[in-house]
Amino acid sequence: MSIENVANIIKPMLEGAQVTVLLFLIAIVAAIPLGFLLTLAIRSKLKVIAWFGHAYIYLMRGTPLLLQLLFIVFGLPLLPIIGEYMVLDRFTAACLGFILNYAAYFAEIFRGGLLAIDKGQYEASQVLGLNKWQTTTRVILPQMFRIALPAIANESVTLVKDTALLYAVAVPELLHFAQTAVNRDFTIMPFVIAGIIYLLITMTLTLFFKWLERRFTFD
């Protein structure tokens, strides 16, 4: 296989990888705050809101992301009446699916993080005269974030890998171009290259989170 050939294969794949990375960034930036809101929802004193939050998380974690993507991309527009307002461009729809799904997973992570924070932190803050908002933003969130960091790292790597699902909802990304090249050239190389690209992305991400964890080790 000539170098030119390889370049020909790699170019579209790298473009596909951009879609992968873009989806990843959009999804993570939106899913983390949404997940936190969801955590607040399930801790809410209003039973309805808490119940809704739990049901949502249960639904999202109990069904495949791929089904959710198919539902949003191809299903929603078919709904009677409101369907026609649900026509999102495929990439946007896919982003939405990823955000909604990952928010549920992040919510669980944050819930765990909050549980791990000692009651004493709230009490010490109260006795020092901090109000609820100050306690949350200055005392609780930084600690929760730190506790949740390893789990967030894990989930982020999973997210990168899940971007491969775009393949199935016909958003052309890395795998799509790999598959196209395989079918055209009858060689296994494109899969190997795709694997290497994914490994590079997940490795970078892992290193980034390792750095972040070290950065926020309080000692």
Partner: protein, 237 residues
Amino acid sequence: YSSKVSEDENTLVIGVDDKFAPLGFRDEKNELTGFDIDYATATAEKMGRTVTFQPIDWKTKETELSSGRIDLIWNGYTITEDRKKKVLFTKPYLSNAQVIATLAESDIKKLDDLDGKIVGLQALSSASDALSANPIEKKVKTVSEYADNVLALTDLKIGRVDAVVIDEVVIDYYMSQEKGTYKVIDEELAPEEYGVGVKKGNEELLKELQKALDELSADGTAAQISKKWFNEDKILK
């Protein structure tokens, strides 16, 4: 379901896109049916073989064939020069054209109207080859590639694409099923012909297959199947 590689020599495993009406698709009972399904069944019978239909992802059809997981690609498989490099073809048995389908009320009337529009088509299909070969391709805004024609038509209906490049045979069928939803613009992209794909190097199977096809054509069975699905004899002699 069945997805076995032909264990016994006597079984023909035929790779089909099970969302390619009216050549191969699923009816309301989820049974595979269609012109190619009937035609292939009759052919296999002629050859004295049993037949298994294997739904595949159209994107991977040549890979499937070369891996030997299927024996034939037979599902509105257009004969092209590129593909001839990768597979053996029978003589063409049906003529077809790649056409532009839009919603009935669309103001796209001719090829040039595709300028700046979003066009959908099936990934790695001859529709994609036909579009690339036409100068209009440079002017369309984006080309969306789908796993099958149905998804492309679904998105046309939903409004995510403005037009779909599709096999005439296929869109004719849908237009007869859902009257008034779609229209086809007069200018066609490219005429073409369907053949059956056999793995490179398997000349023996090709010969055996071609013999059976010729016999079916001669004894009128082919014409009968064509009338069942198209109300006319469209078989190429």
